[in-house]
């Protein structure tokens, strides 16, 4: 009887921990990355919002606040860009983004402006400070899957507001890809902005 109670108790405790761990990762998207995370698609072919991108390798944050762009920037915020860590390891060795590479751009608005140039003043000085998250854009490299779009990459938008959409439909190349093809330094990735990838 005692043994049975112990078994039941231990099982419940394990379930509790498992729930706690998964709840945390859902909330923060920071569960540690293990192995390589490859893109997941719905049966309709839409991309599923990648998991735990906040524990991926962060490469940089270009900043285009509204106040520098006549009040209407295309992306009025920080663009925090991450690369899936397994793909990054391969890129670091080969200099080539492997099939299945995922780049995650999380958009984050700046805190409200106090000064005419859009900046505000905080204890550390006058500047642009990160505020609310504001949706995400994701690209996936797959030379076969996206071949008929004219690109090696698929471009997806998971909302330009919160919450992020759980899935996203492939964007036509005229909306995103053309600009990457025209101006991004390497394989449609803006490596010129990200020292960690610029080699």
């Amino acid at each position: 009887m005692k043994r049975r109670q112990l078994f039941l108790g231990a099982t419940l405790a394990l379930c509790g921990i498992a729930t706690l761990v998964s709840a945390q990762s859902d909330e923060t998207n920071t569960a540690p990355a293990r192995g390589r995370y490859l893109p997941e698609y719905t049966k309709e072919g839409d991309l599923v919002l990648p998991k735990n991108w906040r524990s991926w390798v962060y490469v940089g944050s270009p900043l285009t606040p509204d106040a520098l762009n006549n009040g209407k920037a295309g992306f009025p915020e920080y663009h925090n860009v991450y690369i899936e860590p397994g793909s990054y390891e391969i890129y670091k060795k080969t200099g080539v983004f492997p099939e299945g590479t995922i780049m995650f751009k999380e958009l984050q608005r700046t805190l409200p402006q106090q000064n005419p140039d859009g900046s505000r003043t905080e204890p550390s000085g006058r500047g642009f400070f990160p505020g609310a998250f504001n949706g995400a854009d994701v690209t996936v490299k797959d030379t076969k899957r996206y071949a008929n779009t004219g690109s090696s990459w698929g471009y997806y938008n998971f909302n330009h507001h919160e919450p992020k959409a759980p899935t996203a439909t492939l964007k036509p190349i005229s909306e995103c890809g053309f600009c990457h093809q025209a101006s991004a330094k390497k394989d449609e990735v803006w490596t010129q902005f990200y020292p960690l990838l610029d080699h």
Binding site: K2, Q5, L6, G9, A10, A13, L14, I17, L20, V21, Q24, S25, E27, T28, T30, A31, P32, A33, R34, R54, S55, V57, Y58, G60, S61, P62, L63, T64, L68, N69, A73, G74, F75, Y78, N80, Y82, P85, Y88, N115, D117, S119, S124, G125, R126, G127, F128, F129, P130, C179, A182, S183, F193, P195, L196
Partner: protein
């Protein structure tokens, strides 16, 4: 009572295993040597969590003059959000970039260019 004690022991054991997995997975390097001197851990951009960024406004032109990127040891964000405290051993690293500001297809952009300064921060409690 004995059952509760054994279950509690098992829970703590499992918790240790989970914590150990997170550490082994992230492989953060120690930042202090035996004499207490700090150094910047090599490879931190690849294993630390990105915590946030802010940009210093430029004085004489539009845009920003520097971008500061802040990283934390793996597991810090989840631990802080669940407990409200930074765990012992947490390391924060602030990278400072000089910036360039230019007109791009997405608008006027400031982005970090040259990595100029990466201080290590002491353990937070």
């Amino acid at each position: 009572m004995r059952v509760i004690a054994r279950v509690a022991w098992l829970v703590s054991l499992v918790a240790v295993v989970f914590a150990g997995m997170a550490r082994a997975d992230g492989k953060p390097e120690a930042v202090a040597d035996a004499r207490g001197n700090l150094h910047v851990p090599s490879g931190y951009p690849e294993v630390y969590e990105f915590l946030g960024t802010w940009a210093i406004a430029a004085d004489k032109q539009v845009g920003s003059s520097q971008i500061h990127n802040v990283y934390a040891t793996p597991g810090t964000i989840a631990a802080y959000r669940s407990s409200g405290h930074f765990p012992d051993g947490t390391v924060l690293i602030k990278e400072v970039y000089e910036t360039s500001t230019a007109r791009m297809t997405t608008g006027t952009v400031s982005q970090g260019t040259d990595w100029i300064y990466t201080p290590g921060y002491p353990t937070l409690k």
